[in-house]
Symmetry: D3
Subunit: 131 residues, 6 copies
């Protein structure tokens, strides 16, 4: 359950509908996932979030699949179940193979492990890492 009802299409305000329409047009798909239906209670937050997501995850210096892998890594570490599912699905939609996914899991597991070891031992940063 959410902390507020998910808005179906016919419950959207005019402002929210315009943004949802842009999500559909940008993605070339009618499917609107629950995150946007939850955010739609506040058109201003919906707009700010969508505008920024569209810009950040769009074409740029890093390829879209890598961006999704980074998104998965953050989401897993924040223990965000929804985000882990949605961005794993997005990574697959952008071409992530099962072999790449297996390797991504290994990297995520490795990073967690050494993060734990480093923090447990309180290792000081080497001056050589200075930018």
């Amino acid at each position: 359950m959410t902390t507020q009802p998910l808005l179906s299409d016919d419950a959207l305000s005019d402002e929210a509908r315009a943004i949802i329409d842009d999500i559909r047009a940008t993605r070339g798909s009618d499917f609107i996932n629950n995150f946007w239906r939850a955010l739609a209670h506040d058109p201003a937050l919906l707009q700010a979030t969508w505008d920024r997501l569209k810009q950040v995850m769009g074409p740029g210096e890093i390829d879209p699949l890598t961006k999704e892998m980074v998104y998965i890594a953050v989401s897993v570490t924040n223990a965000c179940s929804y985000c882990t599912h949605s961005h794993t699905a997005a990574a697959r939609a952008k071409g992530m193979t099962e072999a790449q996914y297996a390797e991504l899991l290994a990297v995520i597991g490795m990073a967690h492990q050494t993060n734990g070891l480093v923090t447990a031992m309180q290792v000081p940063v080497d001056p050589e890492f200075q930018a």
Copy 2:
């Protein structure tokens, strides 16, 4: 400060020295960062960690720079200062440009933001994301 002294080369046990030698040979560099000098108190843990890291971060299905970006993402989210520094340095050594780094920062920031929103609203996973 660490929870135990960092071991200099001449304080290494024979088992630890053999692993440190392999790190140097594998990396083609004499520089040994503090993480390994802290782990060297326990050659078994040093060995297990290095063997696994070498395997996971080596050549595979995902390119090495992407792996470092994923590592940064996990490390930042776990608030591991050392790991953030060491893997940002590693990503740069593997060719990450400043423009890519700026975009990586934007993706990490975005992911944190939507993770927070999703968890705050407790959005249920869409069945469409099912594998």
Copy 3:
């Protein structure tokens, strides 16, 4: 599922029942949420937790609704689903409007984002922030 059965009223020990009675009296409601029914296996822990919660969340220097908003913020960041739900419900019971909730979500999202950026860049604390 919990790691131990939730105790119904007739399964409470005498010590646990006395504390549950105080929760009911303090809140002016018969409803006892699952957290207390899980804690009731250990009357000492139940007592310590309830006594402290009653004191901390009661009248003081910060108004009760603000305290609930802070509680939500911590709970979201710790990815505690139960706590997010229970304190969002508590905030609404204490008068949080939907407009305030939308703004709270925006602040939580913003804080997560800049936390991620700051940690990624390892920004040093300005001396001006010193108390």
Copy 4:
């Protein structure tokens, strides 16, 4: 140390300078804290972050001091040292008394404790909390 040099005023690009000027004008202060000097390497990210922060933390449905307290709560839970310092300073600048701060600490500590207990016991959400 940061992952990239903090930019002093005379190292700012024209785009970055315009945004830094707006921060100074909006805050009515010449002081620019390190977060912005680190972000200034990427004027687009600087702009997006500042624009959003200005909007979210500005006047609205929740009073500015409460917003800072929520920001502190998120920052502490994310273990963001810089953010904890900067928003504690901001809260004091907006009038937080030492008595309020002591109470805020108590609420944050309490929330962490019950988050830990709830997650350890895996307490299921009561249907009564449904929105």
Copy 5:
């Protein structure tokens, strides 16, 4: 739901089956929990994870029940629901009494609370704690 189907016995590859067989033999039980059925998609990751777990959680300097308590503590703090359940079950299987569990909960709750207070106040490490 998982991000990939859980593999039943007859869907296992030969390599995966050999490892699953070793898990069964080592534990003296036919029951294979879902974690291994999810990992079985990648026999290399399955093998590395099981080999390491068997070594780390086996007989050593710390008794097996204490290791499970530490595992629970990490899992709770990482908000890993599955891990919390599986290691609480494992601790009970290794003899954890309900009185010990109640005390473990109290320690976990206490640690979370003081972690929150310390991070909120940004307390500097005493030189006396230096190794």
Copy 6:
């Protein structure tokens, strides 16, 4: 730096001094670590925290060294540098050997790793783990 000055002995209020005296008497040591000197600004919070810590970490069903190991595990996972240092020092003072510490590090690293894998794959809880 802390968010508020650490109180030296002669800056303590009478209420704070009485609690600090009890800490000294209970521990049989004059050394007061910074956590208590930071908390001393609010005698009520100092008292509640110390009273609870004394009770939870004292003699009980779990031996004191195990409690410290659990405390370390939580503190590492919450990325609390101070708490990691102080409880590692406490564990050593209670007899933790270097061999035990090495094994504790291995368990903590392992737990982090499998937590990451489980959360990444969103593994559902086996019904067999039900209490």
